[in-house]
Symmetry: C2
Subunit: 410 residues, 2 copies
Amino acid sequence: MSPQQRRSGLGTNQEAVRRHNLGTVLRHVHGAGQISRAELTSLMGLNRSTIAGLVGELESLGISERATPAGGARQGAGRPSAGVAIAGDGPCVIAVDLGVDRAVVARVGLGGRVLRRAQAPVPHDGEAWQVGASVAALIREVVEDAPTAAPLVGIGISVPGMVRRSDGLIRLAPNLEWHDVSFGGIVLAALGLDVPVSLANDADLGALAEHTRGVGVGIDDLIYVSGNVGVGAGVIMGGHRLEGAGGYAGEVGHLRFDPGGRPCHCGNRGCWETEVGGHAIAEAIHCPPDKVAQLDEVLDGFTSPSPELRRTGTAIGHGLASIVNMFNPRLVILGGYFRSLYELVGPEIDAGLTDRALPAPLESVRLSLPGLGSDSALLGAAEIALEPLFVDPVAALGSALVDVRAQLAG
Amino acid sequence: MSPQQRRSGLGTNQEAVRRHNLGTVLRHVHGAGQISRAELTSLMGLNRSTIAGLVGELESLGISERATPAGGARQGAGRPSAGVAIAGDGPCVIAVDLGVDRAVVARVGLGGRVLRRAQAPVPHDGEAWQVGASVAALIREVVEDAPTAAPLVGIGISVPGMVRRSDGLIRLAPNLEWHDVSFGGIVLAALGLDVPVSLANDADLGALAEHTRGVGVGIDDLIYVSGNVGVGAGVIMGGHRLEGAGGYAGEVGHLRFDPGGRPCHCGNRGCWETEVGGHAIAEAIHCPPDKVAQLDEVLDGFTSPSPELRRTGTAIGHGLASIVNMFNPRLVILGGYFRSLYELVGPEIDAGLTDRALPAPLESVRLSLPGLGSDSALLGAAEIALEPLFVDPVAALGSALVDVRAQLAG
DNA sequence: TCGTCCCTGTCCACCCGCACAACAAATTCT
DNA sequence: AGAATTTGTTGTGCGGGTGGACAGGGACGA
């Protein structure tokens, strides 16, 4: 959601104004990590005294605290502006990055600061409740050292599959072999807690995180293409997540690529994924099938690309061209094992894209590696969990969980 | 733009609240044509007295006028609510639908009412200034009988090509053979006027119009696929137009369809357009190439589809499947000659889509014909010209042109 | 070292816009 | 016809952003 949330046709009353302004201040603090009141006034276009009031409210809510004027970048004369910093025991969230072979869990505070992290392998044929128990154990671990005063706002979970927007149901996670799994409920049950849980697709969250604090800061039209066994994309257009009717937008893996190509697990032939998906690449580099989940590590061991890999690079570029034609992004971020591939066959990918994309969309697009490394999805999960805080800080804190440690013990 | 315009990170003051609420009231009046104050209060969630104040301001601006309680649908007891209707000599806009072989121009008032229309053929090899002069003549015609009091808010132009969002430059209109044409400036120069001009792609405007007052009312995720010699799409996601970095989003005609297919004018092989574009279909039905621009009329003469046409229908369905997978729309509207085709080979299109789309996005999508017939793009052009009125009615009226007739005479 | 300049934080009165309550008006239901 | 119901109108109150006055705090120049 954007500073102005997307309501359709509603009016605005002054209560909503306050909510929005308070949330926007917090969003700026979150984005910058630390920011001066003077910057806030110029960014938001409000009066000094108004900003003072808003900042005061955030402080009394225990979200932010006054900081000494940021030592570094002093620009001109005049009284230095007091900083607004994120409170040490301010609100935090749990972020979960569920991968095909491992789960990463982190406690994350405002500003995207990872306060503590833990991870564990996930069995290949694990049932959802087993994985849920394992994730719950990791959550208990990262909550262990949380300050008593720090409220837990929610849990965000990144999923390698299609997640229904309306209720967070995992419709299909092919590489976990899950169908219609209510993973949020499973984790909550395993924890014995009741906090807001948000789930979303890993590529969508990668896009969100890169837009908030990665290479995509300030770029309002970007796509994060993720290679994680399957191929998917997260799309941000006009500064907003592209979700689609059900939340399934961005399924670029099943773009028609070559009608005479290999059969795909979706039932068709020659989907893009059959050419550039994890299994296709594993085959191209003669990597054993059981190592597909660690494909990025395997690829990092390569120093020079084989001809097969070069051909794969071209195929990636050709697929990206369709994506660029369809969405006209300013930035395409290559995540997952595409990250390692871009190091190896970058020129082939670039050439494939340049060859097949239309001139107009091509001239404004740029390819890039993720700015957050392999943490994009994890930090994106933190972002969606934090989101309610920016829509209505007071309400979000009201429904947050206080003293999580005690709650988990009891 | 939505009721809440997309500003990034700005604060809201009460002046903005008033602007927004006034614009939102007007948007509702525009959408419904006529609406009661009571409906406005419940739609916008504001107090009766606030709505009364807003409606009063619209009346004093000469935009709306008080109407007798809508006779038809009386529901319960109680005093009937006074209606808000669009003023007879209220603001209006000029809408231009530039086609490959003809231009349609209309004067359109709020509520999407076409007050007067005119059209003329456009020479196949016309230069931009010639077409501009012809459009200017049509504009003079439709303005002839405009009430003196009615202010002209702007001109909206639908273009069969790629339009740069930042300045409305026509980057490429392949079937007009235009490159980098500043058509807005040309028309204004021919008129000797200075009013706001907005240009956009015809498919984008088709989507917009169908979303506002066609089959897509209330559906926030839809795609309008337009067949007009070339194939393009207009995308609305989350209630907002999908524009992309440069404004070129939705170029679905150059999706990779069959790498071994026919060469496309874009330089590649086997773009979707080479299978389902105007020229391909003309060939399939043995229609002479110079009649491609009137393909819809030719198709309307058919009663039963040939096997070639059936194959084309399947190809359309397969292409739509890629689009549905990428965007996950709730509604796909088939415009241009796809409209006539759907009457002929609807089952083949449906089957092609069902065959190739993923189950999750497929289950919520529906195909449909345009609700506005062949006027979608024209009414969409009116919509973008009216847009400033909903963002800030007072400001838009301030910069509108009064007594256009006199201005054009002088 | 001191004074000036410039910018910022704080406090105040003020204005604007929405909400709320009370009353009048208009229609339906009994 | 009277009660019930819903809406328009009016006046008052309240919340929230604005703007000015004043004080605080650092940079720069003399």
